[in-house]
Symmetry: C2
Subunit: 272 residues, 2 copies
């Protein structure tokens, strides 16, 4: 473990609060500071011991700074904070639009910025839901434009809290996550719009699991889906093609094709 | 608890084996017998203590008989077994086609048949997955054509293992379950057909929950979806309408409408 002196988490909600708590737990930094515009959240983070100290202004210099604000605020925060840290990371669920905004509106991508996306979360949000174990066994995708010593430092900051680290291009990340993460949220939510309240008692464990992600924070998810909308809409259209193919098979009563389609899906799912 | 002398479970897989085990656990019957064409399953049921005894022929008379075979075999089993029991039930996920088959091919619906559907299950199957607690807190839907003393006896047989009982018409049941149970299986499976194996590492807990039901037994689910295909296809078409409305909102960047749609879905899900 390559310890650092000071780490600063900007945005101490579910993800930021969990990372701060995890860093404290493993002793990654001598001090883990937290910054949150929402002072109540900052106070909760202190009370729950997620951070050592809450700050209301950016320190002149920290070793590692991670931006854990909602996705659509990340580019501005990166631009504003980059000069205050040796390494600056984020945890945004969509990567390419952040780089585009930095290039288009903020004069470029800071050299000390390593874009990160930990694939971990919960339908809950805020520092009360934070947990030092959130990243244990999780995958964190790094999307640096060029691999550098800083990407290794960033990787180590995640690995020390139990995460596995993988690298992808920002474009490949956004396209893949549209399918593996954003589309399921869209489908679960569209499905819940079809369910009527009186039907809720007639549901079982399958329904509960299938729809859990539909309970996630609507504002946060609107931002994520919007930022990645080209990939998300393309994924939804591909989904409709698969669904229609299956209902055609059902309509036709084609048992061989139907069982084969269900079996392929089951086999792939069972690999998890 | 109104105990009976002999109960017979036909088909000792996940559901039948669990019901037998639950009945044994609460002492519902002096003897819980099991019948399964698959002798290995019958042996496992005996070894695991799910049933008191395995039988290879129908006894002349039992008090309660429950058919727990795959949905498309239930009508034939009901017709064959009804005369051997005071009360005969089933656990099929689709109700109206069973009644139609009994009327069309077997001379009518036996008077002692109370159609049942316990909304409980697992992506696993077979007697090795059976559990005496499967129905604890579950809802069991009864769809008798007329309420009678027998429906009360049937309700008591489920309530004694911790289930809640509700009555619906067979048609209302099939239409509602198309939305609350069959459609989620269809959607999860169609979704998994879109996911490529190399993407699996880039998935989190949301994905795992959302897709769990896609791992369910393909043959069983093909039969369920086929038997209820008119309602299932209608539900899938309605789903596509909801999904397209949401992607249109996303395309248009209509934040107010988008957050409202996500919020309504989240609120309803949070009621569970």
């Amino acid at each position: 473990l390559n310890r650092v002196d000071t780490a600063l988490v900007v945005g101490v909600g579910l993800v930021g609060g969990s990372l701060a708590a995890a860093w404290r737990k493993v002793g990654y930094a001598r001090r883990v500071l937290g910054f949150d515009r929402n002072l109540e959240a900052a106070n909760v983070a202190v009370e729950r011991g997620l951070i050592d100290e809450s700050v209301t202004e950016l320190p002149a210099h920290v070793d590692v700074l991670v931006v854990c604000t909602p996705s659509d605020q990340i580019a501005a925060q990166i631009a504003q904070c980059a000069a205050h840290a040796d390494l600056i990371m984020d945890v945004g669920s969509v990567k390419e639009p952040i780089l585009e905004t930095l290039r288009g509106q903020y004069g470029g991508v800071p050299e000390n910025y390593v874009p990160c996306h930990p694939i971990a979360g919960s339908e809950l949000s805020g520092p009360t839901a934070a947990s030092a174990d959130l990243f244990d066994g999780a995958l964190v995708v790094l999307t640096p434009e060029t691999e550098s010593r800083l990407s290794e430092v960033a990787a180590a900051a995640w690995e020390c809290v139990g995460a596995q680290v993988s690298s992808l291009s920002a474009a490949a990340h956004d396209q893949m996550l549209a399918v593996t993460s954003h589309l399921p949220h869209l489908l679960a939510s569209a499905y819940m719009q079809q369910v009527e309240a009186p039907a809720l008692p007639f549901t079982g464990g399958g329904f509960k699991d299938f729809t859990r992600i539909a309970a996630a924070n609507p504002e946060l998810w609107w931002r994520i889906l919007s930022m990645n909308k080209a990939h998300v809409i393309a994924a939804a259209e591909e989904f409709i093609t698969h669904l229609k193919a299956f209902t055609d098979t059902l309509e036709a009563g084609d048992q061989v094709a139907g069982v084969q389609a269900l079996s392929e899906a089951a086999r792939l799912r069972q690999q998890l």
